[in-house]
């Protein structure tokens, strides 16, 4: 009886008789390049005669017949790692641990596929291949798993991309340099520079560890220095020097701890009263937990599925009571219904958020302005997942509570004072979007489609005892809303929308206008 673990070799020529699916599995298992002819190499190097080739083919066929008939029991005896000069063995073995638990050949093949994927995901190898070798002859029914890796020759890589940063609420261009695997633990070090549409800039250094002290999820840390310019909208500039640790990062859960020194300044000296009171230095020590469940089929053009995100943040985690204390909760729910014709889909979304200070005298204390909610901007509500942020037709920070700025006697300025948008402690938005393909094939091929939408949103202040003045009828009365239609152009860097928006309802000082409106969103 042939050793069941013998050479599932994908390099057999004329594989007409081999079953299609098993051949695919084997090819996939061995990664993108370098199919290993391990078994054949271990022979004494005799040129393969035609008879040998036929014999090995017959053996493979019998093996596959057995595999199709019933599970073939097998036990993994040893995992051998080859090709790693820098990378520590235990880092690689931790990723392929799943292979040891396989009890049948079928399971082993599947587990090898998963292990290959895990190793590729570490992003430190140029190629990965896994082959199954026969175990020691005295132990029948065993196999050795041989992992051959080729480490990246050039450890430095650079990339440029566009992102939508949740804090800055705008799209940004980011360039980063990555230095991989310096210490052999699969560590990736990166330095990045990001520049946003709203004159915000951030420079940061980060570190990524796939395994930290045996914990199952990767560990990330980041030091950053950021500068956000909100002078035009709220008369302040925000500078922050921060350190953040990603403690848990799995498919559904994310836990991040951030500590940052934030400084609000007003070089223009035009700020309104509330903003003036908030200028100065603050220390933030906050824990943020995000639960994300995204079953939509696409984040840039969802046509089916639903998603739910909940972000909870608690600040003030330090023995010092002078550290900024606040609570923040955001919730976002999306649902996409396919309509069947022209790839049309109806997208619904509801999102809300609330923030409040805690600690002694919390009812009368003002909430921290950068932690408040601001609605409006050049983002599309369909793509910006994670809390209330954008409404079509309203400019950046263009709606909500506002205050008069400082009065300055100037012959050239008009009599009307400009206003500062100070943000709200509670915000809620909702939208409905119907997207459809155009009948022309030219548009369909390029993904250009049209959409018709409606959205509504509102904000209110709660801190400084203002919650006493807030009533549900008043909130409903002052809801802002807009409708419109437009064309969506997906490009390689971002999703662009060219919309015509009509503002149905807005309040006195909102910055919103009916007309053409362009939005940029990244996934």
């Amino acid at each position: 009886m042939a050793n069941p673990a013998e050479k599932p070799d994908p390099n057999l020529s004329t594989p007409k008789i081999e079953p299609e699916d098993e051949r695919e599995e084997l090819e996939d298992m061995n990664g993108d390049e370098e199919e290993e002819e391990e078994y054949e190499e271990e022979d004494d190097g005799k040129p393969q005669t035609r008879e040998d080739a036929i014999a090995s083919r017959i053996q493979a066929e019998s093996l596959f017949r057995r595999m199709r008939a019933a599970p073939v029991p097998v036990r993994v005896h040893d995992v051998i790692v080859k090709g790693n000069e820098k990378t520590k063995d235990h880092v690689i073995e931790a990723e392929v641990d799943v292979v040891r638990q396989a009890t049948t050949l079928q399971e082993l093949l599947k587990a090898s596929k998963v292990a290959n994927f895990n190793l590729q995901a570490l992003d430190i190898f140029d190629s990965v291949s896994i082959t199954l070798d026969s175990g020691p002859p005295e132990l029948p029914g065993t196999t050795n798993v041989v992992i051959h890796v080729v480490e990246s020759k050039s450890p430095i890589t650079g990339q440029i991309g566009t992102f939508t940063k949740a804090e800055a609420r705008s799209s940004s261009l980011e360039g980063s340099l990555k230095y991989k695997n310096i210490f052999g633990y699969g560590d990736i070090w990166d330095g990045s520079l990001a520049y946003g549409c709203d004159h915000s800039a951030e420079v940061g250094l980060g570190m990524y560890l796939p395994r930290f002290r045996g914990r199952p999820t990767p560990f990330t840390s980041r030091v950053y220095l950021s500068n956000q310019d909100w002078l035009k909208f709220s008369s302040y500039k925000e500078r922050a020097l921060g350190l953040s640790f990603g403690l848990i990062a799995s498919k559904y859960h994310e836990l991040v701890y951030t500590t940052a020194w934030r400084n609000l300044i007003d070089p223009s000296k035009m700020a309104s009263s509330s903003i003036r009171r908030q200028l100065g230095h603050n220390l933030v020590s906050a824990l943020k937990y995000t639960f994300k469940f995204d079953q939509r089929n696409s984040s840039l053009r969802p046509t089916r599925g639903y998603s739910f995100i909940s972000t909870s943040q608690i600040g003030g985690l330090a023995p010092d009571s002078r550290v900024l204390r606040f609570l923040r909760q955001e919730v976002d729910l999306r649902y996409a219904v396919p309509l069947g014709f022209y790839r049309a889909a109806l997208n619904f979304g509801v999102s809300g958020g609330i923030t409040f200070p805690w600690g002694s005298g919390y009812k009368s204390r003002a909430s921290y302005v950068p932690e408040r909610f601001f609605l409006g901007g050049n983002l599309s509500p369909v793509c910006s997942l994670g809390g209330p942020s954008a409404l079509w037709g309203f400019k950046t920070r263009g709606l909500g509570p506002s205050e008069r700025r400082r009065e300055v006697q100037d012959d050239e300025s008009s009599d009307t004072h400009e206003r500062d948008f100070v943000g709200g402690d509670v915000a809620v938005t909702a939208f409905a979007d119907l997207s459809f393909d155009f009948p022309l094939k030219w548009f369909r091929d390029r993904g250009i489609h049209g959409h018709v939408f409606a959205c509504a949103g509102n904000m209110a202040e709660l801190s400084e005892n203002k919650y006493r003045k807030l009533t549900a009828p008043k909130l409903l009365e002052t809801f802002r809303s807009s409708i419109g239609a437009g064309i969506v152009v997906p490009t390689s860097l971002f999703r662009m929308e060219l919309n015509y928006c009509h503002i149905l309802k807005k309040q006195e000082h909102d910055r919103a206008k009916s007309g053409l409106f362009v939005t940029f969103s990244t996934s």
């Binding site: 230095h281 009368s364 100037d410 050239e412 993904g447 997906p490 490009t491």
Partner: protein, 389 residues
């Protein structure tokens, strides 16, 4: 009183006034009803007609008062705070505000007997803008136009120096107090006493990490401002203390046993000098060299104690002393942040830069769109793959 309690007081007052208005209307209603209720009770005809006139007058008076109060209540509700507010650093060392830059402004307003509220900002120790004086949308920052006091004088809000500015002594005394004594105080706080008092003055509300970093930053900036380096430290110290001693001597001689520096009227120089003396005596430790030099001049100490008792402690108990020495209508003469030709230039420049930015962005967009659209459906393929999952 800080802003929170001030707001609460206003709220209470407003609710009080609302209650009062209704009670006034009922009382006026009663007044107007009274003569009707008793038509034939009075036999004294001439007295009753004069009583009617009196009652009409009362009615008119109460109605006007009710209208005025209600209008005030509405205005206060709309504009939140039309009261004067001085925003300064927090109090400590038994001083209303412990910051040596904020105290002169506070004392100046007290000397002028202008009613104002005091609010605090305790998170910005390294700002030049504090103290600032605000009234609705009017703000006078300390780093504009020579300081808060100068700005208040210029904008016509309160000016105690009107008859004194022409005196030659005024300028020389001002230079002496503001520059020599000011420098001596800055030196003593940051270098002489090594910043012992600064934690209570500036960093009482900031976490340790930030306060330490800002302390080093502010010490460095103070040394820079005073021109103190490793080589010049000793020589500069001697010069500063010598100048301070001479200034105390001159001021002590000038003051004698007078109540104020100039005749019997308070001036801004009294505010500066009083704040300097009070700060040194109360906030600096007893080992301070500058403090010892000051205590040698007992008439300066007595001057400070007298003025403190009369203006700072007395006025804190009395609610609203009579208003005078400020015009009823403010003539805010152009507190322009920049001069005219500069404003024009920067506005044009800004416009040009904005247009240039839009042009570049449009070009970039066009290129990206062309590449993506003409490049074919690569993004489309990705979406189809997602659908298959």
């Amino acid at each position: 009183m800080d802003l929170v309690t001030g707001q609460e007081v206003l709220d209470e007052k407003r609710s009080e006034d609302d209650h009062n208005i209704s009670s006034w209307f009922t009382s006026t209603k009663n007044l107007s009803e009274k003569p009707l209720a008793k038509p034939s009770s009075s036999t004294k005809r001439p007295a009753s007609s004069s009583m009617n006139l009196l009652e009409d007058l009362f009615f008119f008076f109460f109605l006007t008062r009710a209208l005025i109060t209600h209008t005030n209540a509405i205005m206060e509700g709309d504009q939140e705070t039309e009261v004067y507010t001085l925003v300064a650093r927090k109090p400590s060392f038994d001083l209303p505000t412990a910051c040596p830059n904020c105290l002169p402004a506070y004392i100046y307003l007290k000397l002028a007997q202008l009613p104002f509220e005091l609010a605090f900002n305790s998170t910005f120790p390294d700002s030049d803008e504090l103290p600032y004086f605000e009234n609705g949308t009017y703000v006078a920052y300390n780093n504009e136009d020579g300081g808060v006091i100068e700005k208040l004088k210029k904008d016509g809000i309160v000016n105690l120096d009107v008859p004194l500015q022409t005196l030659p002594e005024y300028l020389s005394l001002k230079a002496l107090i503001v520059s020599w004594l000011g420098e001596a105080l800055t030196y003593e706080i940051w270098v002489g006493t090594e910043g012992i008092s600064t934690s209570k003055i500036y960093y009482s509300d900031l976490p340790w990490v930030i306060s330490k970093a800002l302390f080093y930053k502010q010490t460095y900036m103070a040394k820079n401002r005073l021109g103190i380096t490793k080589e010049t430290a000793e020589q500069r110290e001697k010069q500063i203390y010598k100048r301070a001693s001479e200034a105390y001597e001159a001021l002590s001689t000038r003051l004698g046993e007078q109540k104020f520096l100039f005749e019997d009227r308070p001036s801004s120089l009294d505010a500066f000098l009083l704040s300097h003396i009070l700060f040194i005596i109360q906030a600096l430790p007893e080992t301070s060299a500058l403090r010892c030099k000051l205590l040698e001049h007992s008439n300066l100490v007595r001057y400070a104690e007298k003025l403190k008792a009369e203006f700072l402690e007395a006025s804190s108990s009395s609610p609203s002393p009579p208003l005078h020495s400020f015009p009823s209508s403010f003539s805010r003469k152009g507190s322009k942040p920049k001069s005219k030709p500069k404003v024009e230039k920067t506005a044009e420049e800004k416009k040009f830069k904005k247009r240039a930015r839009f042009f570049l962005a449009a070009q970039f967009l066009a290129v990206v769109m062309y590449l993506s659209v003409m490049g074919g459906g690569s993004s489309d393929e990705l979406e189809y793959e997602d659908e298959d999952d």
